[in-house]
Assembly symmetry: C2
Homo-oligomer: 463 residues x 2
Amino acid sequence: MTETTAPTWLPQHDPLATADVHEWLADWRRRAGMRVDVVPLAGLRGWRQDADTGVLAHRSGRFFRVEGLSVEMPGAAVPRWDQPVLHQPEVGILGLLARRDGDTLRVLVQAKAEPGNQDGHQLAPTVQATRSNWTGVHGGRPVPFLHHFRDPDPRRVIVDVRQSEHGSWFLRKRNRNMVVLTDEDIVPPPGFRWLSLAQVHRLLRHDDLVNMDIRTVLSCLPAELTARTAAPARDAFTAALRRSCRPGTGSRHRTGELLHWITDVRSRTEVGADRTALRGRAAWHLGEVSLRHDSGLFFEVIGVDVDAEGREVASWSQPMLRPCGQGVVAFLATRLDGVLHVLAHARVEAGFVDVVELAPTVQCTPATLDYLPAAARPPFLDQVLDAPPERVRFRAVLSEEGGRLYRARSSYLVVETDDVDLESDQYRWVTLHQLSELLRHSNYVNVSARSLIACLRGLLDAG
Amino acid sequence: MTETTAPTWLPQHDPLATADVHEWLADWRRRAGMRVDVVPLAGLRGWRQDADTGVLAHRSGRFFRVEGLSVEMPGAAVPRWDQPVLHQPEVGILGLLARRDGDTLRVLVQAKAEPGNQDGHQLAPTVQATRSNWTGVHGGRPVPFLHHFRDPDPRRVIVDVRQSEHGSWFLRKRNRNMVVLTDEDIVPPPGFRWLSLAQVHRLLRHDDLVNMDIRTVLSCLPAELTARTAAPARDAFTAALRRSCRPGTGSRHRTGELLHWITDVRSRTEVGADRTALRGRAAWHLGEVSLRHDSGLFFEVIGVDVDAEGREVASWSQPMLRPCGQGVVAFLATRLDGVLHVLAHARVEAGFVDVVELAPTVQCTPATLDYLPAAARPPFLDQVLDAPPERVRFRAVLSEEGGRLYRARSSYLVVETDDVDLESDQYRWVTLHQLSELLRHSNYVNVSARSLIACLRGLLDAG
């Protein structure tokens, strides 16, 4: 274990100033670089491709598999298609260790490199481990701090909920999002630092800095932990945002009505997603080098060789999913009776466990839209892309999960609008405290919406 | 439509006295009997058996299918097995129309016969309809009162949540449990009557009278609707039960701790359930007459011809699942600080959508236990079966769903114990208001526990 427990005479932690985080990450990039080479998919070290089906699996049978998925969505803009999908049934842990310091909540973050990251190291949660990590399938070193999450005192667990990942790329993948309080005086070992929650929230405004895994964990924090500053809000927008985060504040719809709406959409929507062979899928070409769509769009599955220092395992090979084009992920937001509401979309993704989850108002990859039928164009995309700069309340390019996704990045936006009359069968105005309430449970809020929730909370604090 | 709207001059409804319910049901049995003949599975009218796989499907492609299921549960008493399963992906509606009459909540019940029922008609919710019912696949008459549930005013929806059914027999089956308020003066058409909620609750004490579909809907009613009488409780047990139903009352564990526990069990438990062919399943014999286990235990799949009056369709054939032996479904209950708690079991069933749901303390078919390894014997079964009569707070034999299950019946019990030290990895003491909170969402409380929750609420009222 690389964990160090502080001697009791150590009176204080040593929090890192926000301005120093960039330098700290840059330093780690220099000291523990990760070399990633794109290599042919065929013959990937440690992986086996089934001769008949083309399905790619690790020789251990663990980690994940690249399979085919046959999707049917009667009535949708594209009512049926085939695609490759990452199948990873095991539930990993995304764990954030937290500590109260007076009124300040501090969290233990990690500078972590992932093979898919654009620039190597990003801010990550304390623990980011698949089951295969900690059961030693890959024969690596133990995961630091894992025991805080494997067998915690239940009274110190603030968050423990399995949440979905990108349902267009993963089949029913869930990770366990955990936040556990400690009162141990932990001196961070190399690569770990204590930051305040407010610091991490503010760092979300920087491109490619706060990784997806910590964003989703942050979004699951109870609303009352994130909006309890006593200072006056610096403007009307921030005041409306703060009210939106506060449990019990008025909302356009009662939560019971939202649950009725979600049940209704789920009951009316038919979606079939069956696992199939990878070979012989219409429009997909499985070659020696990669697996790609005939159009060159959507995504491709590539192979990588990874050489890493400071990881549980120093070198390995794996398939990765490389999206073709940058995503756009945006909430339209408006103030209703002084409370900020965001326009949630009840979105179907083939890999979801339960038909639909609440998603951002817009979530798409614009590059693919020319290929798809016109009806597949998201209704509010132009409104988001053409918004006047003063209505754009948040904008940053953030990386998606870098362990399976290769250089997957999206532009995250929150755009304010005065047009409140935007609801339809699949769209509802909701408050952030309502989303927080739903986030206590699985299958309600998708990973893109969770990232935006964390970003919105980052606007609560000035500076 | 057989629905009748009352003229506005009609000042009162005509509620049925509890004592008259038996006579009313008996009358319907005489007037609209249902004839059910067990017939060979092969050549069932309207059904097609796939020559290769043996899978049984309706010629329309709708309703449900009898398929094979290959189950893996590493570490369980039986770590892998094959079985037949009913696969019904479409979500039906179980809808109860309700009306406030001063302080009394009245619900519109139906005398409904199902082919699997022991004695024909039982008390059923206002609407009990599969999607195939209302989309007219079977070419039948419209379902009375369905429009109240198809497009309700969201502000009048008290309950709308999809809940699971028996996960050992059905693959990921969910029904939409709905309670909708109306203020229309509805004069019940033949076969329908208004009863007070308290009446239906009390009728649960009678064997085979209140059907499973209305039991599950009742269990989803918010706790505050069920325990708001001002009268003093008649004894300490009832007082503890009433406190248990009241939101905010103290509980052994915070709800956050329960969610952590459920997430933990779900994350640690590996379960695989893959749909397979029906033919060639180990230990199962698919014959002309039926599909049965070599031991004669568990269940068999049989065919029935049904002749019914007063149904949307007057005659049809279908496969049914006939359990071999009566079930035992029991909660152990205890008082902690004057609040009744029940011992919930985090139970795995192969057909669940999300690994485990909270189940009664004991849920099994004793007849099968001799065949299974000793470790499969439920831990608290003897404690339930050998309980002294004065500790048995509830006991009735109730029917399971009669549309797919043939004469499936279970003994439902609530047994009080002073032994509070019964918790382990898979068992927790929970209050009824905590179960109510979870019942706002899918996948938390299984159908057997839901029945017992309704039964327990029936003990709140004297008489």
